[in-house]
Point group: C2
Chain length 302, copies 2
């Protein structure tokens, strides 16, 4: 079972002119990321008899699927790019999944996975481009709105777009503006919305390792119809926001989570006097690679 | 102004048989510890014209007083033992206070401080043994009971006893049992309650650096009359609980905060089916000295 994570009011974040700012702590979720929500939902909806499940993942989805499959005694294989954080790889193994390494990039991942599917008929549960995954991720924003019905804006990071799509689904009938938050260095969602078609993510170099993947067809379709906007931030802005979360909020979060925190500051004029909810997506980070407290001080400077 | 910190429900902590367990995140307080509450109250109650304020502190009270004095444009001197964590010493300086180093131990601290008071007449604001400090610390438990009126037990660490005394004051007319939580290696409060008189703390060697000091006359008087019990834990138990908070809760907390978390597990039979509130006292810790994830796994094992 996934848990109802806390939604915390952070007074210091209102310094940028918002009415109040709340963070949804998915770093405290089972497997320490929101991905457990999608994986649990997708596994719950599997056909009764499956040989096993397989996926490719930079880490958090793999860990979440390994956990969700273990709950149902289903064998799980995860294809992982060689450059994924050590802590994430170790956690996938901890939940009893089998790990196969591949080169970075979506094409290498898919090729490695297809080879296994061809051999043993495992059921593929993709990281984001799947209705069951999106439905699972939608429970996060639904919870937020139950915890605080006054929220007017939700900021969610966008990589493959599963969380952002789920958030948009959850907010469909609500008076809530949802923005996607993306690194400038991995801005395929931003470019895709501009051009009206799915743009190639390439092999982006961003510290926000959870956001290196591109949109899928389903997530692109949901996002392009419903999102209020995609807002991008630089690597320096991400690192400062990340350091602020670690050293000032005293929360261990992944750099990907810092992207909406950086957006909050950079685009504060969009959020003046509003109640903002920010999804803190996960806490799986190599502890020996944390940012410095000097960077934390830069975040609150105007 | 101090802030109303979050009280967070942590489902995984109910594994020891409690109804539910809530943590009060004073690591997210101004200056990252509950000490800001006492310092702000003591500074607010100063006579109108003071030359300046002075205190001795292993770190958090010094930082809190430096912050509280700065809010009122009052000069502040802090006497700090040489073995205090670097991060705490740096933070005292950051708030503009003057720092004087002394040898570890309460007698060295008091001598160094008295020399300054004799020379310049500064107003002494002690870390815990003072009614204004205790009154300030009482706001923490008061907030907890407003945030969750169903709490039946509150666990607070005990060093000098300011927070525990304040918690007892806040719970005086309430149906809440308050326990003090102490390292075995610094168990002067436990021994003092047994003997009925203040016992010498000595120079205790515990990783819980915030709890090395002994009770004062005022805190001993309040605690011995009202506390439900003092519960002690070993260094190993503290380290495991600390690692759990860092790696599983993804919260950066000081080792002192881990003492009540260790008590929750060790004395779980005392808390069966009850709603427990735990005060997480602070988050000022040297980031290069964090515990390992192996220790974290040991905490949840029965």
């Amino acid at each position: 079972m996934t848990i109802n994570t806390p939604l915390i009011h952070i007074p210091s974040l209102s310094a940028f002119g918002m009415k109040d700012v709340w963070i949804k702590c998915e770093n405290m979720q089972v497997t320490h990321s929101f991905k457990a929500r999608g994986a649990a939902n997708a596994v719950a909806k599997l056909p009764k008899k499956v040989m096993g499940v397989i996926t490719h993942s930079s880490g958090n989805h793999g860990q979440a699927l390994a956990w969700a499959a273990k709950q149902k005694n289903i064998h799980c294989i995860v294809v992982v790019p060689e450059n994924a954080p050590k802590v994430k790889i170790a956690a996938i193994g901890k939940h009893g999944a089998e790990i196969i390494f591949c080169a970075p990039g979506i094409k290498s991942r898919e090729a490695a996975m297809q080879a296994v599917i061809n051999n043993n008929g495992y059921h593929f549960i993709p990281p984001y481009n799947h209705h069951d995954i999106i439905e699972g991720q939608s429970t996060c924003a639904k919870e937020m709105l139950l915890q605080n019905s006054q929220l007017e804006v939700i900021l969610a990071p966008v990589g493959g777009g599963g969380l952002l799509s789920g958030t948009l689904v959850a907010c469909e009938q609500k008076a809530v503006d949802v923005f996607g938050c993306e690194p400038e260095a991995a801005d395929d969602a931003y470019r895709s919305l501009l051009s009206g078609k799915m743009e190639d993510p390439g092999n982006p170099q961003t510290i926000a390792d959870g956001l290196r993947t591109g949109l899928g067809e389903i997530t692109f379709s949901i996002i392009s119809k419903n999102v209020k906007g995609i807002l991008t931030v630089s690597e320096e802005e991400i690192i400062q926001a990340w350091a602020f979360a670690i050293h000032n909020l005293k929360l261990i979060i992944e750099p990907s989570c810092a992207v909406p925190l950086a957006v909050l500051k950079k685009y504060s004029h969009l959020f003046a006097n509003q109640s903002i909810g920010i999804i803190i997506t996960g806490g799986n980070v190599d502890m020996e690679r944390l940012p410095s407290s000097q960077d934390a001080e830069a975040y609150l400077c105007q």
